[in-house]
Symmetry: C2
Subunit: 267 residues, 2 copies
């Protein structure tokens, strides 16, 4: 789809805030944190978009129960998929463009970059309070491309997600250095899967250790946004594409997500 | 380091079996499974090498307690780092080549490909019974490069690691399709983080759901190698660079790793 540069500007021009969700390591819950923050922002009455640039493992469509939806086109570009009836939460993901959900995206860098660039310019978001960009793990093509193409629109910054153990924290440390090098402001660090409360005896076990995220934030003098406990109900909700924050609003994990979102909003 | 093609052949020529550890999704425990299988093969009296091609998140050096080691050169190429006194377990990782462990590898595809190619040709492994190659998540540059460069040496195949929940299983499904397209034999699927036994009350909770790995293996008619339970002692051992299989040889997780390794050896 050809777009002239005037039109490119329009498609992100209506977005007030752009937040990247990053992590050096995979499987720490980037997509979980991205979806939950988006849902919490929506719950606060805001208009939110999620852009899933994890081309090899797009999990956002399933988590928001919009898997298998088609992307339509309008004069201004691709129309994102809405995850709610009120059209307050819109989603764009490579997952919508794959014919078969089992198909792997076996693309080398240049092709991925072209796709991400198109995602950043050709999606007709309309007016958004927040655009949350969920990235793949690492500090590679996808990240460089996103950052290069966002330069004009000045992203608010990045939320870094880690699990508590040192191996994950080490990867996020590299991501923090990456943010400094590329001059992306760090909005803060979230420690995910932080402690597991046994549903049988209510005792807490630090399955993946504890406190690594906060120590890292202190070391790098960036804000620590909070811990989200390991919660089977959260996992289950994401599996089923259910709104965890509504279903389990009294849980410790939901409270943690709301707290992180409040910090974002207070900026 | 310039190498002529005769020498390139030599460096992998002494390797009897090559096994890739793959997963579409990050954080499912690929490096954990890779190190534990390597340690179990070593325990069985074999000579093993681990090649860590996860350039953005090299975690193998820490897990094997060889972080910060230097790589030396000899006439035949780079000498891998030995993780044990008997020199039965050798390791090569980008982690050894980074000046500062906090430095991110902000490389685009071509540079990563060149590095991986060098890893596959220039490391002087000597005679090995098994070379385990730990890959980053996804089906991208690194994977294509590894597979292209291994063609001459015929990898035995790939072990696919997943966690039980459907989002992870979906990513591994794409990886299975990738293996078919690239004609890599699938040695089997491992389900990691499968059930958590509370150390306080010994009740088991399926933190990340259960059974997704086995269902996937059945669906694709590939072997199911087994479940490794979520085990804080395993996480802790990897944090500290300790040999989990020796320290906790009676645990369910250690038994699961040994079982998976036996299946490999029986092939």
């Amino acid at each position: 789809m050809a777009q002239d540069s005037t039109q490119e500007k329009h498609n992100l021009a209506g977005v007030k805030h752009t937040v990247l969700v990053l992590s050096g390591k995979g499987g720490v819950g980037k997509s979980t944190v991205a979806t939950q923050i988006a849902l919490a922002l929506k719950q606060a009455g805001l208009k939110v978009g999620i852009l899933d640039v994890d081309l090899c493992g797009p999990s956002i469509p399933r988590m928001l129960n919009v898997e298998g939806n088609d992307v339509h086109q309008c004069a201004q570009g691709w129309v994102p998929v809405y995850a709610d009836k009120d059209q307050q939460l819109s989603v764009m993901s490579i997952g919508f463009l794959l014919g078969n959900k089992d198909d792997p995206v076996v693309w080398r860098g240049p092709k991925k970059n072209a796709m991400i660039k198109q995602f950043l310019t050709d999606v007709f978001w309309g007016d958004l309070d927040y655009l949350i960009i969920d990235t793949p793990p690492g500090t590679s093509d996808e990240h460089i491309t996103v950052i290069e193409n966002l330069q004009e629109y000045k992203a608010d910054g990045a939320i870094l997600v880690t699990t508590p153990q040192a191996v994950a924290v080490g990867d996020v440390r590299r991501e923090l250095t990456f943010c400094r090098k590329t001059k992306i402001p760090v909005l803060g660090v979230v420690e995910n899967m932080s402690g597991f409360v046994c549903p049988h005896c209510t005792e807490c076990t630090n399955v993946f250790s504890k406190g690594g995220g906060e120590a890292l934030a202190n070391q790098f003098s960036v804000p620590f946004l909070g811990c989200i406990p390991l919660d089977p109900q959260l996992t289950q909700s994401l599996e089923n594409g259910q709104n965890f924050l509504e279903l389990y609003s009294n849980s410790a994990s939901a409270a943690a997500v709301r707290k992180i979102t409040e910090v974002l909003l207070k900026r």
